[in-house]
Amino acid sequence: MAHAAQSLQPSQPLQPGHSAKRHTGLMDWITTVDHKKIAILYLWAGGLFFGIGGLEAILIRIQLIKPMNTFLDAQTFNELITMHGTTMIFLGVMPVIFALMNAVIPLQIGARDVAFPFLNSLGFWTFLFGGLLLNLSWVMGGAPDAGWTAYTPLSSTGYSPSHGVDFYTIGLQIAGLGTLIGGINFLATIITMRAPGMSFMRMPMFAWATFITSAIILFAFPAVTVGLVLLTFDRILDANFFNVAGGGNPVLWQHIFWIFGHPEVYILILPAFGIISEVIPTFSRKRLFGYSSMVFATILIAFLGFMVWAHHMFTTGLGPVANALFSVSTMLIAVPTGIKIFNWLFTMWGGQVRFTTPNLFAAGFIPTFTMGGVTGVMLASAPADFQFHDTYFVVAHFHYVIVGGLVLGLFAGLHYWWPKMFGRMLSESLGKWTFWTFIIGFHLTFFVQHFLGLMGMQRRVFTYLPNQQFDTLNLVSTVGAFLMGVGMIIFLVNVFLTSRRPADAPEDPWEDGRTLEWTIPSPPPEYNFKQTPLVRGLDAFWKEKMAGHKAMTPAEPIGPIHMPSATILPFLMSVGIFIAGLGFMFSRDEFSSSIMSFLFNNYIVTALGLLITFGSMLMRSLFDDHGWHIEPEELEGR
């Protein structure tokens, strides 16, 4: 467990060909603390869960292709919708967001890594093991089936006696730990590690979006942490927080969940706003229109995002005054969001627009997301919501903002930064095929669901009766879902074919790069910047280009670069939490074998897991790890 690198003292004179231990192969990936490698880990893990969530979606749509279908039974359908929502949000798109943040943010602000590389690795591994725990439920007695919101009392033991919801509470608890760690890390990184000259108002919009998103994570995730603890206690330790018979209140869960849940949707969409704000100026060859209004709109959205949670609960009987208040605060969010939409349009207006794949996705994002925003304002009206509530209109709305908004944004970002992450340009022609199949499939799937909802089809029903005018629209929706699947497959083919080509992407592959990540090689060396650049304005690289310079002015002489050591401790800590979670979940079960009963019922498995975690923490605390240095000779030798 102890590393060779740990004995390294910074004062010790180092020979070129540093003595830090280098891992290779799988060990390299497990022990890495390099933000660029962690970004790739996040991407593959997030992509895997995204694929699982996508297959779940396809199965759901096959079941709904015709009335009275018997492809799935009701129980499996409930498990599929629950896992589709949970997987997509917590394990699919959030890791891909973190992948892009990790890959890009240190480069954009001119830093050599994130503030806490060790925590960065810990955040990834806790997320991965949380996600694995949640998905283990499929093979360990049934997945959670109470919907992704897990409303009590449906999710309480009375109505969900199997372990499904325990996998939900404990899996999300562990994965949420990783998200919280990641958020704090990016806050510290952006506050303390910007390159000289990069004031807050010179930060690229994606860095701003990451900063604000991290702040929302910091404030919103504790709410879900508390909620999940309370639900776990109710379910495993017979507490009564949400149990009416014991003096609890089930609506309390809805409050706690949505106090987290609504900011969560802004955690999802703000990074997409940031990506779009990078892609559109680059391919319009114009600076972002209304940069400062974009910044304040982002902050305002984040603030208002915390003041609207009860609009998910209009029908729980909060009373007309509360409903009116939350209607108004919800509609207010349309103002800063509208500012952003118009700023993107004005950025394109008069620019030299190039429709590369990233820009196609960005341009597709604007109208699609706006449609989702408009149905959002419709849903914000409390009287109308009594009609829309729990119908497919809501399903259409949130898929328009999450898929039509976030996923299109992620595709834009992935195509845009792929050469920076992997050193290879994705194929433009396959990328355009991805775009057209995906966006046409998307609108086919979800546009018709607005009308299904207005005609009265409820969400979460596993089948429906014929001759209610639902039949054709559901068929269209399923066909669209398959087309989206084709788009995803084309993207995967593109990734595969690209990975077999030589890594020959230049530093600035799009040729109009505006920000610092395009000033260094693709992919960047492990220290990112040989010399920290001096930032002289917004769009630092573009400013130098316009001044006739080919490179950034360095802010420091070439010197030894301090690097963090690779470590396996974060991986071990996460394994420990994973074991402890599993042990706790089954602590009240009756086992047929007496050894199993002994191990689980006496919390021995839980204690073992916690021992691994706290033991690793102890190792981390007792043995100082000062990292290692890359010497100037080595930098020059490249």
């Binding site: 890594d113 609506v251 309390l252 009373g319």
Partner: protein
């Protein structure tokens, strides 16, 4: 922290110029006195319960300000962001708790 940023390093040094122990000793004594008052109010008995609760809350708030300002250095320059984040957090958490409790238990 992985990067060496000479400029900000020296800025940090200037910001945290040692100011001697006197002020911290005063604050420490003051904290102890606040704690003693709170204990005394309960231990002495005979103090009106409502008054004691209000007194405890006031002592607690004063204590928080002392701890944050002096021991967490929030009174010093360059701590605007932590203050903004804390106030933001208090405001959001406070709103959520008050509203949710109001609806769940009293409305």
């Amino acid at each position: 922290m992985t990067t060496k940023q000479p400029s900000s390093d020296s800025a940090v040094k200037h910001r945290h110029r040692p100011e001697g122990p006197q002020r911290h000793i005063v604050v420490f004594v003051f904290s102890v006195v606040l704690t003693l008052i709170a204990f005394a109010a309960v231990a002495a008995g005979g103090v009106n319960a409502t008054f004691a609760i209000i007194l405890l809350l006031v002592m607690a708030v004063l204590q928080v300000f002392l701890q944050m300002g002096f021991w967490m250095h929030l009174k010093d320059k360059g701590h605007m962001l932590p203050i903004i984040f804390m106030l933001g957090g208090f405001f959001i958490a406070g709103t959520c708790i008050v509203m949710a409790l109001y609806w769940v238990w009293w409305d």
